[in-house]
């Protein structure tokens, strides 16, 4: 019997030291700003780490007055998306009437959504937020818990032996009769045999437990395998598939849909100093084959974070590394590619104001303290060299900005948009906006001749952008924020120490 099971039973549970994640890396919670008609919702969904499990849901409402918020979990696509259970009414905070809390049972792994029914003076409206539900880890037992339940187990086994001994020794005696020595001996033998049998059952139970644990382990999320190869400046990424016997857990490498115009959003970050970052968009050539001509870039070891979204709305971040050799002749960057070269981590913590190479400045309205597991709406502004809002602010890939949150130890990566941390393609599917996906949403990339679709950037009236997000764990993070003015994409960089 293994040491961790030596006592059969246990009292507390702890999370495994690190959690892998699907959309993003190490950042499972969803922070999203959305609208249900005239009602504005800031949604925080904390999915469970095992499926089936219970997710907590928090909503802060603004805009038109709200009377009630109801919440329902259901599949994002397919027949399950049309057959949700009865919604639950979220509980309104007695202290803060604009804050609602609730919990939902997520019974199936895969691409899910949480649908909100909001009612108020202006009527009833709905909104939906996608959630990638996956088992992420196997929980370990705490030694004290195991010891506590182990003691219970020992007491039970000894008790059973005692009962068996008493049954043989005295069970059939007439009332008041005393057992003869022979009966006492037989009682002892019966007790010993019963204890032996109970131990055999415990051993069998342990074997069974191992089988169950192994079965569960096959459901724990594993991202699609990916390998990167660099030939000259030609980057090729080969992505595998994941086959599973478990419902909704198989994933293909040729069903990707466009996410704000791109099949893949690739962040390349030079390790270990995080002092060079690129936001690129490889082309989808064929099943599992992405290719890209890299721009000229400083040599070094780069970590690649490739965000893709499957046809059912399930997002993944594919992680690998490549080494860029010195003197690589790159291809001139394309119009929607962006890069930044902040100071290395070892140079110290970057402040709330970041001076850009062209004289512009990006400013972060940085909270005085940052704590893990707290939902924030991080506010950034872009200023021209004179310190004023730029005259021609524009969207970048259809949005006011993009942000990437990286933990410096490499355990967290999240690509976040002004609407939140959910993949835009999944958000559009959840809210029945698939028609804007250039026809790809329902069929993936199979059969599509094209790769990326151009996204028309439009003028913006504001020089500010907000990103809903919460750091998953304490530590040092580097935040890369991209905003566009005229035809220039600026990449500001900020550091955050999270408690």
């Amino acid at each position: 019997m293994k040491p961790r099971r030596s006592c059969l039973l246990v009292l507390f549970v702890v999370l495994a030291a690190s959690l892998s994640a699907h959309a993003h890396v190490g950042s499972k919670d969803v922070f999203e700003e959305t609208s249900a008609g005239p009602y504005k919702l800031f949604v925080t969904i904390r999915p469970p780490v095992v499926i089936p499990g219970v997710a907590s849901v928090d909503v802060r409402v603004s805009g038109a007055p709200v009377d009630q918020v109801q919440v329902t979990p259901l599949a994002l696509t397919g027949v399950g998306s049309e057959h949700g259970p009865a919604p639950d009414t979220m509980k309104r905070s007695s202290i803060d009437p604009k804050f609602y809390t609730g919990s939902i049972w997520m019974m199936e792994a895969g691409s899910m959504q949480v649908r909100f029914n909001v009612s108020g003076a202006d009527g009833k409206y709905t909104a939906a937020v996608p959630v990638a539900a996956q088992a992420l880890t196997t929980l370990k037992m705490q030694r004290a818990f195991g010891a506590g339940l182990g003691v219970c187990g020992i007491i039970l086994i000894l008790g059973l032996g005692g009962i068996a001994a008493a049954a043989v020794r005295e069970g059939k005696l007439p009332p008041g009769a005393m057992p003869a020595p022979a009966l006492r001996r037989r009682g002892l033998v019966a007790g010993a045999l019963t204890i032996s049998f109970a131990l055999l059952l415990v051993w069998g139970g342990d074997k069974w437990w191992n089988v169950e644990a192994a079965s569960f382990a096959t459901t724990v999320y594993k991202p699609l395998s990916v390998s990167a190869f660099l030939t000259g400046d030609n980057l090729e990424m080969l992505v595998g598939t994941h086959q599973s016997d478990h419902l909704g857990q198989s994933r293909s490498n040729d069903d990707f849909i466009l996410d704000h115009g791109k099949v893949m959003h690739l962040y390349m970050v030079r390790e270990p100093q995080l002092d060079v970052i690129y936001h690129l968009h490889p082309d989808f050539i064929s099943a599992g084959d992405f290719r890209l001509k890299l721009p000229q870039m400083p040599p070094g070891e780069y970590k690649l974070y490739g965000d893709v979204v499957h046809a059912n709305g399930f997002p993944e971040t594919l992680v690998t590394t490549i080494n860029v050799p010195p003197g690589m002749q790159g291809t001139p960057p394309q119009v929607d590619e962006a890069m930044g070269t902040p100071a290395p981590l070892s140079a110290g913590e970057l402040g709330a104001s970041y001076k850009l190479p062209d004289g512009y400045t990006m400013v972060w309205d940085k909270p005085a303290t940052l704590t893990a597991d707290t939902a924030y709406a991080f506010h950034f502004e872009l200023l021209d060299p004179s310190g004023k809002p730029p005259a021609h602010m524009r969207t970048y890939l259809g949005m006011a900005g993009h942000a990437a949150f990286l933990k410096t130890d490499g355990t967290v990566f999240a690509h976040v948009h002004p609407s939140g941390s959910a993949a835009m393609a999944a958000v559009m599917l959840a809210n029945n906006e698939g028609s804007t996906m250039a026809g790809s949403a329902s069929q993936g990339m199979s059969g599509m001749a094209g790769m990326s679709m151009p996204v028309a950037d439009t003028d913006l009236s504001s020089n500010a952008v907000e990103f809903p997000y919460g750091f998953p764990s304490p530590g040092r993070y580097r935040i890369f924020v991209q905003m566009k003015h005229d035809n220039t994409v600026e990449t500001g960089t900020f550091d955050a120490i999270v408690k």
């Binding site: 818990f145 219970c152 039970l156 069970g171 059939k172 007439p174 057992p179």
Partner: protein, 400 residues
């Protein structure tokens, strides 16, 4: 069996004869026996109710009515055991002490110890089950290690109650008590509750669509003959197996008739089938058929050699059950069974449209495969019956 009678025992019996024996109700049946069967009944009803809850509503809490029924049954059992243990160990009743066994210095009737042990096992399973949920997810299987521990505990409570009744019954028989008849009925009822418990354990293998496979008969062969044989052997009763099977059948039919009267709304998705009322479990297996045949057989063979009796029991149980259940499954698949009594038109909320067609699992067992499966079922039934025969014969003499 070798034993010596102590002076205390003589005194106890003398007092028993002069002072009205054990604590008893008006019928002469100790009150705790009534509470005991109430306890195990509540636990079993709670189980059936909980199963329905998961089919109809899906999401539960510690405080659902079904869970409350199970927990109140456990509390009643705990109360009885604690009362008997304290009264017998620390109380002044020599009568109670004389009819008790001793475990680690504590005294109580054997059944009370077993039921208390079952209760402790149930309690231990709770944190284990909570950990299991946290580690591997909320319940997706009825049979998991912590649930097995819980169900084992429930069984021990039920067997403890049965032993408590049986020892009282045997003493009542010897004393010529007028309560014997009532106690016999309680004994058979408690046996029926154990059959319910056994059948609940294997409920996931007994879908109507699987009844033309050999597996359900193997599974039933493992858990039912042991109880039929035990009940028939432990106390002479003409219709022990039939009575126990009837209790099981009656409760499951009652569930079909009663549960759909109550509205319910699924709280988990996806909801493929529009459930509006509580969904009962399937129509009970026709255990009553082999039970009747076995009871008739046992009248002639009750004291036959164990292995012969076990072999006969295994073959008869499997043969008769298959003979009745196989064609009955055809009926259950027909539209004639879609009514309030047979209840085959009730589906749980997760029933996919393809599940609504009444079709047998494909491919069905046929030919040699079926024959081999049923021979295996008979062999399993025989082993199960052998365990019941030995246990039952030992229990014939239980007095404490």
């Amino acid at each position: 069996m070798a034993h010596a009678v102590s002076p205390a025992g003589s005194v106890a019996r003398a007092r028993e004869q002069s002072s009205g024996k054990e604590p008893a109700s008006d019928t002469g049946v100790p009150w705790y026996l009534w509470c005991g069967v109430l306890s195990s009944t509540l636990i079993e009803i709670g189980g059936i109710w909980d199963y329905s809850w998961h089919r109809s509503i899906g999401r539960d809490t510690f405080w659902t009515p079904a869970h409350m029924a199970i927990q109140s049954g456990g509390l009643i059992a705990a109360g009885i055991c604690a009362y008997l243990l304290i009264l017998t160990t620390f109380g002044g009743s020599e009568t109670a002490k004389a009819a008790a066994v001793q475990v680690f210095g504590l005294r109580a009737p054997l059944g009370a110890f077993l039921a208390a042990w079952g209760g402790l096992t149930m309690v231990t399973s709770v944190p284990f089950d909570n950990w299991w949920h946290a580690a591997y997810g909320l319940d997706v299987k009825i049979v998991s290690p912590p649930h097995a521990l819980l169900i084992f505990g429930v069984h021990c409570v039920a067997f403890g109650i049965l032993l408590l009744i049986l020892s009282s019954l045997h003493r009542a028989v010897e004393a010529g008590s007028p309560a014997v008849k009532t106690m016999e009925r309680l004994y058979l009822y408690a046996g029926g509750v154990i059959v319910m418990s056994q059948m609940f354990l294997i409920i996931q293998y007994l879908g109507n669509g699987s009844l033309h496979l050999s597996r359900p008969y193997r599974v039933m062969g493992a858990v039912v003959p042991v109880i039929f044989a035990l009940l028939s052997q432990a106390h002479p009763s003409k219709w022990a197996a039939t009575a126990a099977a009837s209790i099981y059948t009656a409760y499951y039919i009652a569930a079909i008739l009663i549960l759909p009267l109550f509205p319910a709304q699924p709280k988990l998705g996806p909801v493929f089938y529009p459930v509006t009322h509580m969904v009962p479990s399937n129509f009970p297996m026709l255990l009553i058929a082999p039970a009747i045949v076995l009871d008739l057989l046992y009248r002639r063979m009750r004291d036959e050699k164990p292995w012969i009796l076990a072999l006969v029991t295994g073959v008869v149980f499997t043969g008769v059950l298959v003979a009745f259940e196989w064609p009955f499954a055809d009926f259950l698949m027909s539209r004639w069974a879609e009514n309030r009594f047979f209840g085959t038109m009730y589906y749980d909320f997760s029933a996919h449209p393809s599940d609504l067609a009444h079709v047998f699992a494909s491919p069905p067992d046929t030919g040699l495969q079926l024959a081999a499966g049923l021979v295996k079922a008979a062999a399993i039934s025989s082993i199960s019956a052998l365990a019941g025969i030995y246990s039952g014969r030992w229990m014939r003499g239980v007095r404490r």
